[in-house]
Amino acid sequence: MLGLAKGLSYTLKTLVGKKVTLKYPDEPIIMPDRFRGIQHFDPEKCIVCNQCARICPTQCIDLTGKKPDDPEKKGKVINTYDINFEICILCDLCTEVCPTEAIVMTNNFELASFSRDELFKDMKWLHENNTNVRKEQH
């Protein structure tokens, strides 16, 4: 029974050792800067190039553009921008291809909700999700 006793002595040693568990959710977890959380979207920067929707492996991004209000301006401006977080896998490819950094990752990761509909986030919600935005960009 020597082996068993040796093993138990290690267990007893860890009993008085430093605690390794975290007190989440009582104490928030600070993720490293590169962490891929829920996206922040800036409509001002978006040039409606559609690259994010095209690179998305799960096709969770839906966007539409419109003509700018000012008739002098060329190109398009963003009209609607929705991400379906039921199928988004937070793979970071949308932010990687975005040429203007209109879509960027944040450190926020809490998405749990009581209904599936709430996981459908629109442009307003994504724009207001502007805390803990990732500093290091591509």
């Binding site: 020597l2 082996g3 068993l4 093993g7 390794v20 590169r34 492996p57 937070l90 970071d92």
Partner: protein
């Protein structure tokens, strides 16, 4: 006294059984406590990755490989990019190769730690699980800093890696290697000499080298029968030819041999990481010059690598377009699982979990 006749019984184990490591279902035919036949039912986690890939470009396939063997996503990432790079004939910058090797070997350690913890939990010890997860957490934090995710990294790209290493990261990995080397002694103290554990694994679930080869087993499940076959040494890919490491083998072919080999593999992986940290280039690119749209030339390409489970391969049939015409993953968990009905036959029912656990499967990879 005459012999007691018993009736055969069908027992359903899983798919929601904690010791099947996911959603494996085993239909077991029992005669008393003895197993007569086992019929594994798979496919509960089938997502059709290979078919989905036909409609995705090569960069988009990478996050899907994260979700196959989700305990070793870095290895899955490398698997696909390595095949595309080989098809394209790309040369990868040295710095990227070093980052990849460090990431892959740390991943192998993390994968083996999960195996170690859960395997012992399967056979009745709860403490090792917590110890293994504590140290695995350190590795996951390294990956979180590196790629921004704890499990599904999506870190490797065709031609290199997505990000350079953060400042001080390589040095901290070096410190972890020293810590882990010492800590492994505690792992052995906690488990390896334990008499109850030894009784559960020695001589259990044994098979021969011939059986292993006939079933196409690879990785630890092959090496435990004495066959010295490791793709990192026998068909070096990436920069594995620059490192010194041993390929541990055993001859018993039982659960005990597989246990020892995985523990020894952690030591060898630590050796590789230590050398890679020491040789790590101070500067250089982490991404090769890659065309914006990746179109491998028309034809076929198959590459393979040594994952934590065995030989992980990718076959691509390209028509010269940005999406594969056909893509096939050779998944070691799936192949290794195929020997299970054979080795479970005649065993005691209580050994089912001990034998299944020793094969080390991940159902995401079995079902793909």
């Amino acid at each position: 006294m005459g012999t007691i006749t018993t009736e055969e019984m069908m027992l359903n184990m899983g798919p929601q059984h904690p010791s099947t490591h996911g959603v494996l279902r085993l239909v077991v035919t029992l005669d008393g406590e003895t197993i007569k036949a086992v019929d594994p039912v798979i496919g509960y986690l089938h997502r059709g990755t290979e078919k989905l890939a036909e409609d995705l470009n090569y960069t988009q396939i990478i996050p899907y490989t994260d979700r196959m063997d989700y305990l070793a996503a870095m290895l899955g990432n490398y698997n696909i990019v390595h095949c595309v790079e080989t098809a394209l004939g790309l040369e990868i910058p040295e710095r990227a190769e070093y980052i990849r090797v460090i990431a892959m070997e740390l991943q192998r350690i993390a994968s083996h730690l999960v195996w170690w913890g859960t395997y012992l939990m399967d056979i009745g010890a709860t403490t090792p699980f917590l110890v293994a997860f504590r140290d695995r957490e350190t590795i996951l934090n390294f990956f979180n800093e590196l790629s921004g995710a704890r499990l599904t990294y999506n870190y490797m790209r065709v031609g290199g890696v997505k990000w350079d290493v953060p400042p001080g990261w390589v040095e901290r990995v070096g410190e972890f290697v020293q810590y882990m080397k010492k800590e492994l002694a505690s792992y052995h103290q906690l488990v390896t000499g334990n008499e109850i554990f030894l009784k559960r694994v020695i001589g259990v679930g044994a098979y021969t080298a011939e059986q292993a080869i006939n079933y196409g087993l690879t990785g630890v499940t092959l090496r435990c029968t004495g066959v010295k076959w490791d793709l990192r040494r026998d068909e070096p890919y990436s920069i594995y030819d620059r490192f010194e490491f041993d390929v541990p083998t055993a001859t018993e072919g039982d659960c005990w041999a597989r246990y020892r080999l995985r523990m020894e593999e952690i030591v060898q992986s630590l050796r590789i990481v230590e050398q890679a940290v020491a040789q790590f280039p101070n500067d250089g690119d982490f991404m090769a010059k890659v065309p914006r749209v990746i179109r491998p030339p028309a034809g076929e390409c198959y590459t393979r690598m040594e994952s934590s489970k065995g030989e992980l391969g990718t076959y691509i049939y390209s028509e010269g377009k940005d999406k594969p015409y056909r893509l096939k993953f050779r998944r070691p968990s799936f192949v290794n699982l195929s020997i299970l009905p054979e080795i479970l036959k005649g065993e005691n029912m209580a050994n089912t979990v001990a034998i299944l656990g020793s094969i080390d499967i991940v159902l995401g990879e079995v079902d793909a």
